[in-house]
């Protein structure tokens, strides 16, 4: 997947079969008790990391701590990935795992970032990696290491190398920003005098669709993130909004008012060929493809207040999904299609998570101004915008609501977070 990376040959064999179930047992991880049972891990400083513009071990440490799945403990780590752990001492410190690494400048200016993970309980090497990167990608290399540690020790894919898009609002200035999943390395994708809402990632993570009001009305655009090119996808009479890519990236669901009312259409990724797919006399909007691409979830007030409905993309009857409360909006599907996150208005606006199989609903936030929930691509976390202690923040929570982390806060109005896909 990353051509320049290669697994260190010496440990190819042990990596071939990650043996996820034994790893879970090994580290006494209880999936239901995130935050309560954390894997104790020793993280050494990476040899020569002080000579680099980024402190690799600090990035990895922050990643692991924020995940809620790890507890950093003090203990002796090998000088670098070629060393040998002092297992006995590490065991007395209560560590289950230890990581060491290095960062060496190559002749071509790149930096070879290496690490290795050892299982302290078993006294076994768990493999490592060498990734030569340009200096600008050092943070990314650190996030890749976090992802691999996370996967080897929890059995799930990490999301540390993914990105999150969101919008900030200042008087007369709106900025669509992209940040690493740890809230660092914030970059601006679009700066406008007019509002920007509803960013949505393409499945390959290279493009963002969004609504801009730069033409004094809502128009849907797609912007290529690295190339900085913008193209218009839907600019029909009336408002054009709520873009969402199909799982194959070839189509978008959008809300158009070109024929009166607000209804969901599916258009080709270049904006051609709009097909009306929702049929009501009310508002239909915020359509999201289920991960299998066959079902659309959307908001409709066909029954009175706004509720979440679903229907086959190919056509068929809409079925109401939410029943508790008079105002349920902003659906988001988990990557496995089993959970639905949404915003429900009660005493405030709160993120709720529904188990779609059972219909059970639980509140996962302890704030009252929540907006725009979005699942991490591994399905473990939800990001949302809210207010905490009077400030605008982006929060992440585990899907069970037990472990929360404040990703970002600033004096600015922060809105509309959306978590990008795997694959960077």
């Amino acid at each position: 997947m990353w051509p320049r990376r290669q697994v260190l040959r010496a440990f190819g064999a042990s990596l071939a079969l990650p043996a996820l179930t034994p790893a879970l047992a090994q580290f006494r991880l209880e999936i239901s008790g995130v935050g309560a049972t954390q894997i104790p891990i020793v993280l050494g400083r990476f040899r020569d990391e002080d000579r680099q513009p980024q402190s690799l071990s600090a990035i990895v440490r922050a990643d692991l701590e924020r995940s809620g799945m790890f507890r950093i403990v003090d203990g002796p780590a090998p000088a670098d990935e070629t060393g040998q752990p002092d297992y006995n001492t590490l065991r007395t410190r209560g560590a289950d795992a230890v990581v060491s690494g290095s960062a060496s400048r190559l002749a071509d200016g790149r930096i070879d970032v290496r690490y290795r993970l050892w299982d302290v309980v078993k006294g076994a090497d768990q493999g490592g990696q060498s990734e030569p990167v340009p200096p600008v990608d050092l943070r990314l290399a650190a996030h890749h290491i976090s992802d691999q540690i996370y996967q080897k020790l929890t059995g799930e894919r990490g999301v540390f190398s993914t990105r999150i898009a969101y919008v900030t609002k200042q008087p007369g200035k709106y900025t669509l920003r992209v940040t690493d999943a740890d809230g660092e390395n914030i970059q601006s994708a679009l700066i406008s005098n007019e509002p920007i809402i509803s960013p949505a990632w393409s499945p390959d993570g290279k493009e963002l669709a969004y609504v801009s009001f730069s033409k004094r009305k809502a128009v849907v655009y797609i912007q290529n993130i690295p190339l900085r090119t913008q193209r218009e996808v839907a600019n029909f009479r009336g408002s054009n909004s709520a873009p969402f890519f199909s799982p194959d990236g070839q189509q978008l669901a959008v809300t158009l008012s070109k024929d009166g009312g607000s209804h969901v259409y599916i258009v080709d990724r270049n904006g051609a060929n709009p097909r009306l797919v929702t049929f009501s006399t009310g508002i239909d909007t915020e359509a999201k493809f289920a991960p299998d691409g066959k079902t659309l979830y959307f908001v409709s007030d066909r029954g009175g207040g706004p509720q979440i409905y679903r229907q086959p993309v190919a056509g068929g009857n809409a079925e109401r999904v939410t029943f508790n409360g008079a105002y349920n909006i902003s659906p988001a599907l988990s990557p496995d299609g089993k959970l639905l996150a949404y915003i429900s208005r009660g005493s405030g606006f709160k993120v709720m998570v529904m188990d779609l199989a059972s219909g059970d609903v639980r509140s996962v936030s302890d704030t009252n101004d929540d907006e725009s929930p979005s699942f991490a691509p591994n399905g473990r976390y939800i990001i949302y915008a809210t207010k905490s202690e009077g400030r605008d923040v982006l929060m992440t929570t585990t899907v069970d609501g037990k472990f929360k982390s404040r990703l970002l806060e600033s004096g600015l109005d922060i809105r509309e977070p959306v978590w990008g896909p795997f694959g960077r």
Partner: protein, 177 residues
């Protein structure tokens, strides 16, 4: 707006004539000065009072401005898109303006208060704008002269998180296109 003041006064006079005595429009000049323009069916026809030296300016940098004295904001109740009777005269005045000049175009911009999601509010604002457009169409305005759009909750008229602010923000603004 200021650059177009001559045109504005002309247009304002036209409305006054069309709207009759009930019009809230205040005029600097007696209405009869420009009454011929109205009967000619076009505000662009040359007035005999302009003489031989006048150069008429077509300024396409701005749309045809709505007379400043003409109210152009219609307010709505919470969660409602019904145009209340008290705002009916505004809708009628704009309809008359548009019917008097078929080249004139207006946009009805729907807005909501800050509560709730951005997309659902966008759709609510759209519904309000469409309600206003519908009324104007029923008064005989051609549908090519009108477009309903929405800003949802993105462009509050006033800041604040109380009912007074919210009431000022639940609105449709009419602007020229």
């Amino acid at each position: 707006m200021i650059k177009n003041s001559g045109k504005l006064i002309l247009a304002m006079a036209s409305i006054a004539v069309l709207a009759g005595c009930a019009s809230p429009v205040k005029l600097d000049k007696p209405a009869e000065v420009v009454s011929r323009d109205v009967s000619a069916g076009s505000s662009s026809s040359t007035s005999s009072s302009s003489g031989q030296s006048t150069v008429g300016t077509i300024d396409q940098t701005k749309g045809t401005a709505i007379p400043v004295s003409l109210d152009r904001v219609i307010y709505f109740d919470f969660d409602s898109y019904v145009v209340k009777d008290e705002f009916r005269p505004i809708v009628e005045a704009h309809a008359k303006l548009l019917k008097a000049d078929s080249t004139r175009k207006e946009v009805a911009e729907g807005h909501t208060d800050e509560r709730g999601g951005s997309e659902y509010n966008l759709a609510l604002g759209q519904r309000r704008a469409e309600a206003v457009v519908k009324q104007m169409e029923l008064l005989g305005v051609g549908d090519t002269q009108l477009e309903a759009v929405s800003y949802g909750k993105e462009r509050p008229a006033v800041q604040g998180s109380d009912e007074a602010a919210w009431a000022k923000n639940r609105r449709v603004e009419l602007r020229s296109k």
